[in-house]
Each structure stands twice: as structure tokens, then as C-alpha cells.
Symmetry: C2
Subunit: 483 residues, 2 copies
């Protein structure tokens, strides 16, 4: 429901919600597969350090913890209450939470606005706003903070701690991000699946992310914005320091109906309008879930890209070629080494005297050794005219993939980290392991040329957006079109 | 080098090259990391059933096998000779192979046309063509046939046997496909990395794939076509029965130079012209390596799509929404159930009486059970107005991902398999395992909505192409634009 500007009490409440010391699980259950069972079990399994307070009028003990008859029976303050009750039973409990001065409530049940029960949702909102209590949901999935070993909701994954904040209106798409985090070796600063997003607004979560010291980049999945002005204002505040990526769902004709049925959102905007809005906000719009995840990884790990002189280093002609094509398709016009740094070209040609080593891509040949990769990449990282390095590794029987990866990580991490490097490794299980290894060393790595280039493009779009937000001109080399 | 039409003797030679009984490895070595060592070792490690004949003038025995002083010293016929010698030493050995009536030679060394040594390459071609011996390479990576446990070259992967033929001018991009096959649970019928493609032409390999009983779909990576007419003719012969996917590298300005340096190819075509050429050939052009692999998987496993009434079934509103958006972005206009099959809508609504279950996507809700998925999917597969089913599974703590996958596979495989089904599962390691499980049961499954939709789009593009090739009209429902 529309707010005009972010509310200070919500900011404070979110601080409690993402770092709770005491959580009440209302509707805690002893029956597996019930929401109230699984949420409690997950909290306990994950060694959350705070206090967990199950509430159930019909049980004295649940999963080894003493249970309370009601919220009011709990002594002392409550930071977050997770309500695992049917929609019709929610209002009363929310009121009790308000009386108890709970900081934030998360309502799991569906059956509110998205099912036509607007009044039921409005009464929840009214109660929470009157008592300055933050409302998450209804139709809410999960909230978590890996830095505090805290996860409360229906997510089967425990992401590592990191610096990407994931704020999603959809539970499903949040789960996709959480799952990708656990198998993709990238960490999150905090995450939340908003569902109907009846009260706490995107703008407030974005400002919270702006203040959160663990967060370096914000990834949003949006179906509908209630408060466009507040969204733009918050983004413009945060985006110059922390990039904001946004994926908008429900942009298609049929998607519109589905979004209404899903989170009861009011997309109500045509797609071009959304483009303009996100642009005005200084946010970077992506088109797919893959791009949101891959781009978030690159933005959290890499320093800013400061120009378009990106050099590709490869041991496989074909993969280098696909990278080159993809850069151009994305509107990034790579240049040959001789065009922007003849001195660099000469030094590389001395190191690797192949005709193909003075072009861009620099092709080291199928038998390239780890030291050759390191020497060339070190030259590029030190060269003042080079703005970024894209590395491609193709695993022939002669290729020491693991050694190359170790040399690259060591080379990058022992330097000033003043420009981005992104790696692409295409192959089997050895390559997947190498990709994860690089990510753990702080270097974004991907399984296809198109994904690596898409990530570079996100870095580039963020730089362009930052120049705009700061009202300074981008270097001439970066003023071409972004795709 | 340009041919005007496919040559019958090449077709015969390829039969020997992909099913060799006796292979000579010329330049076989006892020194690890040498090409002649690794190729021989890989042949032996993989339990290839035929005879392996190492050739080395300075050794009596290599890796446990008796070595021959030269090709001429080998008694009996030779089907394939793999030449692991430097460029300058190749011509003489190729002549010896020709004298010995070897069916096909594969030349690993680079240093020919791609390095400006056109004459050296021309003399190889001349010798091979005069003696009706097929030449693979130079700058050649590998050739293999998983159905015969045969792989000869520098690939570290042993793909499972299946029905996708992978023909790549680039070794690197072939390795990407082979690697993806080993970790992605899809099989290949045969594969070859052509390198400079001096002699055997794409057209000849395409016709070979057309005749190969193991092949259901052909995936090509092309940098340059020598013989466009032969390419179009072969494709038009094969494509009505077996779909041909093609990825063209070197389409960018800088890529042009890189392609010249890589395989000495003559792209010499602007991109639109390539589009028209592939279209005339009845081939399906893709833009990324990911699409080539994902599309190939879908085409080998699924029956033809016969119209655009695709129905999405999901337990996650957000993932269903992203699928819907992506279908529309790809030019596939989904319709609501009530628009094309009110009877179906009523039956599904009876099974799952939620407001969102009679829309498209059909949203079964976050707590959907495996039987609910099965019942709804079974109705869709049996409904005469539904042309395809897209399933999305979102793994909440309440979702029995493994059970859903088993039910779906059983439901599909116990039916007539008359329309395609494609599944998307977004999450962590459990979801990855479920994806591989589905693929092993013959159902294409992917990790993001965009990949699942891209695969559906490939099925659709193939159907449209087939109608064109057969000069019949597509059903009205399929006449919208493809992206």
C-alpha cells in the first residue's frame, strides 16, 4: 500500500528483523510438513544464536523447546514474530503482537489481496502502521541473514555469508537465488521474500541495504511498485555507492494476470515506462534470473570498470571468438591492442611470439601453460590503458586448468585490484570446480562466454549509471549504447 | 577449400573415421604432455575395442604396445591415422598414408593456413584429394563416437552415447559441448573438432549425420563455410528429418580478424547474409553456446511441437511469471486455458480449486504435492488442444522435488509421448540432481526459466522450418515471429 516516503520506524524495525535476538514462531507445530513445524526446525537446525519462542495454545513443548499459549504469555521483548497460521486467524494474532510491541511480523499465509480479500489485508496493514510495527508479507516466504546464521521461513537452503542483498517479491525467485548461492559459491548479506508486500516497501529495504555494512550490491525481483517516487528516491540515494540490479516480472500480457493472482501486485505500467523508471532511479534492469545472479556476483566482487578497453586472453580460438562476438552484440566495441596500447602489444608479443598473441583476443594457443596465462594477465592488469581483463580457459588434455586458476587468483589478489577480471571456463566437472575455486578467491567465473560477457556488461552499465547519478561525464570511450 | 558438391568417397571415408577398427597414432610418444602421448593414452584408457598402432621411428614399444617405425611398416589396412607431428613433418607422412590407402587422416598440428602457410595446407589437400583420402584438420582437436567407445584426440572428456551429433570448427567450443555432456547427462552420437577444415566439408559431415542411425539432431559450430551451395543442399536434405542447429562464430568486426587467425576461415559474409543462408538451408541459427547445447538436448529428446498452445504448470508464482514473460519476449503468445480449451480449464479447476489454477500459468501453490503435479500434467498431455507443457518446480521446504520429478517422468513415459514437455527447476544441489534425473529419463530440464523457454523456442523454430522445407503451411497458431 502506497507510502509517500520511507518511514524511519521501519528502518529501525528492519534492523531488528534482520538481526533478531528473540523470534516468536506463532503456530509452531509438532507435525512435519506443516509450515509451523518446518520453520521452527530450520531455525534450530541452523544454529541461530538467538532465542526461539514457539507459540501454540495446545502444546507445552515443541521440538524440545517450551511452548507458549500465546504471544502475550511470552515474557520480555520480541524482535520478530513469524506467523504460521491460516489467513483468517492472522488479524487477531497480529493485534496481539502489536500490543506486545513486537518490532516486525512476518505473515506466511496466502489468501489476502491476491485472492480478492483486500479488506483482510487492509486491516492487517492498518493495525501494523498504527502500532509502528513492520509487516512482512502476507504470502511471505522467508527472511535471513547469513552473517548471523539466521534464516526464518520455508527455504531449504542456507546461503554463505557475503555481500549481495537479495530482495524478492516472489518466494520462488528468491529460492532460485538462495539455491544458486549454495551451489555457486557466492554469499549473501541478507535476503527476504516479500510476497504481497503489503506494508514494508521496496524503498525501505533498499535504504536498509544502503546502511547495511555487509551489503555491497542489491538484487531486486519486483512485480509491482506501490510507491514509485519513494523507490526512485531510495535508489538514487543508494546507487552511487552500491549498485542496484532489478528484474521485473509480469511484463507480458499474460504475465499481468498471473502477477495479479500471484502477489496481488499492481504492475499497471507498460514495459517502456518501467525502463524509464528504473533508469531514473539509477538502477540496472536485467531481463533474466541468470543475469541477476551472475551480475550480482560480479558487482559484489569486482572494482569499477573505468573504460571499454577490455582485453580477452584465451587458449581456445573459438571461445575467444564467441566472447568477442558477444561483447559486440552487447554494444561493447573491443579494440585491438595496437589501437590503444602499442607498447603493451609489443611486450605481449615478446612474451608469446605467436601471430595471434598481438590481437584481441590474445590467443595463447591450446598448449598454454599456467605461467603464460599469469605473465600476460599481469601485464594487462598493470597496463594503464587496459580497463578490464576477460579470461577464457579451454580444457584440452594439455591444459592445467587447476594451475591456471591458482596462478590467476594469486596474480590478481597480490595486485592492487584496481580493474575487473572475469573468467570463463567451458567444460566438465574439472571446469565447474575451477569456477567455484575462482569465486572463492574473489574472482567472478562462469561456464559460458555469453555469461562472462553479460557480467562484464553489468559492470559497464553500472559505471555509466554512476556517471549519470553523479552528473559527471563518462569517458568518451564509454559512451556507446548499452544492450 | 571449396568443393561444389559432396563427394561419395568422403562419405565412405567418414564411415571408417567414425567407426575405425584400426587406428595409427603417428608421432606416438612416451613423454607425458606431448600430443602423441596423451592421444594414445586416452585411446587406451577408454577401452576402445579396435586396434591401436603407435608409430615412432625411435621406439620399439610405447605404452605397452609394439611401435612401428613408420606407417608403411604396419601390416594390413588402416582406417584412421592421427598425425601428432609438427606442421613441417606432416606432408611426408600424409603421402605415406595415401600410399597405404588409409581412409582418413587427422592432422593435429597448427601452422598452416591460419599462420599464413597456405602452400603447406594446399599440398596436404592436393595429396589427400588425389588419393581419395579424407583429411581432418589441420589444427585438429578430436574425433569420437561414444557408441563405439572411441575418442581420438585431445579431449579430456568421454561423453555418454546419445543422439546429438556435434560438429565444430573450433576445438574449444567442441570441448565445451563434450564437457557439458559429461556433467549435463546428455549423450552424443558422434563428434568432431575440425580445426582448419581444409578438406572434409561441413556439407559432407551433415550428410553423414543424416545417414547415421544414432543421430537425431545435428549441432554445428561454424566459423566459415567454404562451400555455401553444398552446405545448403546438404542441410535441405537432412533437416526435414533431423533438425540442424548452427552457431556462427566471428560475426563481429574484431571477431573477423580473430577467426582468420584461428582457423584461417573465410567468413567473408556479413551477418544478415549468414542469417539468410542458414534460413535457406533450413537450419536453425542460435546465438550462444548455451542455446546450442540446451536446444540440442530438447530436440534429441522431444517429439515435434505442433502448435503454440503451451501451458505452464508451476508451484511458484514468480517462476511461472518469468517463464510467461520470456515466452512473450521470444514471440510465443501463450493463451489462457479458457481461450483454447474451456473443458480443460474446468477439469483442472475441479482438481485444484484455486483461483490461480485456471489461468496460464497454472499455479498449484507452494505446498503442491507430487500427485497434484502428475494429475494436472496428465490432463494437459491428454488434452487435444494443448501442444506442449512447461513445468516449473520451486523447492520450498514443503516441496517434494524428487517425488515430483519421478511422477512427471513416469507420467510422461507411460503415455504416447506425442507432445513435448520441458521442465525448469530453480534451486540448489537437490534441484541440480533432479534436473539430471529428468534428463536421464528422457525429459529436458534446465536450471532457469529463460533456458527452459529458449529450449521450447528451438522446438518451435524447428517446426516452422520444417513446414517451410516441406512447403506446407504452418497452423495459423504458429505463424507469429520467432526471436
Amino acid at each position: 500500500m502506497r507510502i509517500n516516503a520511507t518511514r524511519p520506524y521501519i528502518s529501525e524495525s528492519l534492523g531488528f528483523a534482520f538481526n533478531p535476538r528473540r523470534i516468536a514462531v506463532i503456530g509452531a507445530s509438532r507435525q512435519p510438513n506443516k509450515v509451523g513445524f518446518e520453520v521452527l526446525k530450520a531455525l534450530l537446525d541452523r544454529h541461530y544464536g538467538g532465542e526461539v519462542l514457539p507459540v501454540n495454545p495446545n502444546a507445552a513443548e515443541i521440538q524440545g523447546l517450551p511452548a507458549y499459549k500465546g504471544v502475550r504469555a511470552i515474557p520480555g521483548p520480541i524482535d520478530l514474530a513469524f506467523i504460521a497460521l491460516p489467513a483468517m486467524a492472522t488479524s487477531k494474532v497480529v493485534e496481539e503482537c502489536a500490543e506486545k510491541s513486537v518490532h516486525a511480523v512476518a505473515v506466511a499465509a496466502g489468501g489476502f489481496r491476491e485472492s480478492g480479500n483486500d479488506d483482510l489485508e487492509a486491516s492487517l496493514i492498518h493495525c501494523c502502521r498504527t502500532h509502528h510495527m513492520a509487516l512482512l508479507g502476507p504470502n511471505f516466504l522467508t527472511i535471513g541473514n547469513p552473517h548471523a546464521n539466521f534464516s526464518c521461513g520455508l527455504a531449504p537452503y542456507e546461503p554463505a555469508s557475503g555481500s549481495l542483498a537479495a530482495i524478492s517479491q516472489s518466494g520462488a525467485n528468491l529460492l532460485a537465488i538462495l539455491g544458486a548461492s549454495t551451489i555457486g559459491a557466492f554469499g549473501l548479506s541478507f535476503y527476504v521474500g516479500l510476497g504481497n508486500k503489503a506494508d514494508v516497501d521496496f524503498s525501505e529495504l533498499i535504504e536498509f541495504a544502503g546502511q547495511d555494512t555487509n551489503t555491497r550490491c542489491v538484487a531486486l525481483y519486483v512485480e509491482g511498485l506501490d510507491s514509485e517516487d519513494a523507490f526512485v528516491a531510495s535508489c538514487r540515494k543508494v546507487a552511487p555507492r552500491k549498485p542496484i540490479l532489478v528484474l521485473k516480472g509480469g511484463t507480458s500480457t499474460l504475465g499481468w494476470s498471473a502477477a495479479m493472482a500471484h502477489t496481488g501486485s499492481n504492475p499497471g505500467t507498460v514495459d517502456n515506462r518501467t525502463d524509464r523508471l528504473f533508469h531514473e532511479a539509477g538502477a540496472i534492469r536485467v531481463r533474466t534470473l541468470g543475469e541477476l545472479i551472475d551480475g550480482g556476483l560480479a558487482l559484489t566482487l569486482m572494482p569499477p570498470l573505468k573504460g571499454e578497453n577490455i582485453v580477452i586472453v584465451t587458449n581456445g580460438g573459438g571461445s575467444g571468438l564467441l566472447m568477442t562476438d558477444e561483447f559486440e552484440r552487447r554494444g561493447i566495441n573491443l579494440r585491438e591492442l595496437r589501437q590503444f596500447s602499442p607498447r603493451l602489444r609489443d611486450r605481449i608479443n615478446k612474451l608469446n611470439p605467436r601471430p595471434s598473441s598481438c590481437l584481441n583476443p590474445i590467443d595463447l594457443g591450446g598448449a598454454a601453460r599456467a605461467e603464460e596465462y599469469r605473465e600476460v594477465v599481469a601485464l594487462l592488469l598493470a597496463d594503464p590503458d587496459t580497463h578490464g581483463v576477460a579470461v577464457s580457459i579451454c580444457p584440452t588434455l594439455l591444459t592445467p586448468v587447476q594451475d591456471i586458476v591458482l596462478e590467476l587468483a594469486d596474480c590478481y589478489n597480490s595486485g592492487p585490484k584496481s580493474k575487473p577480471i572475469i573468467v570463463e571456463i567451458q567444460g566438465g566437472a574439472d571446469c565447474d570446480a575451477a569456477i567455484l575455486g575462482l569465486r572463492r578467491c574473489g574472482i567472478p567465473a562462469y561456464a559460458t562466454p555469453e555469461r562472462a560477457v553479460a557480467a562484464f556488461n553489468i559492470l559497464r552499465r553500472y559505471m555509466l549509471r554512476r556517471y549519470e547519478l553523479e552528473e559527471t561525464s563518462a569517458p568518451a570511450v564509454m559512451q556507446t549504447t548499452c544492450v
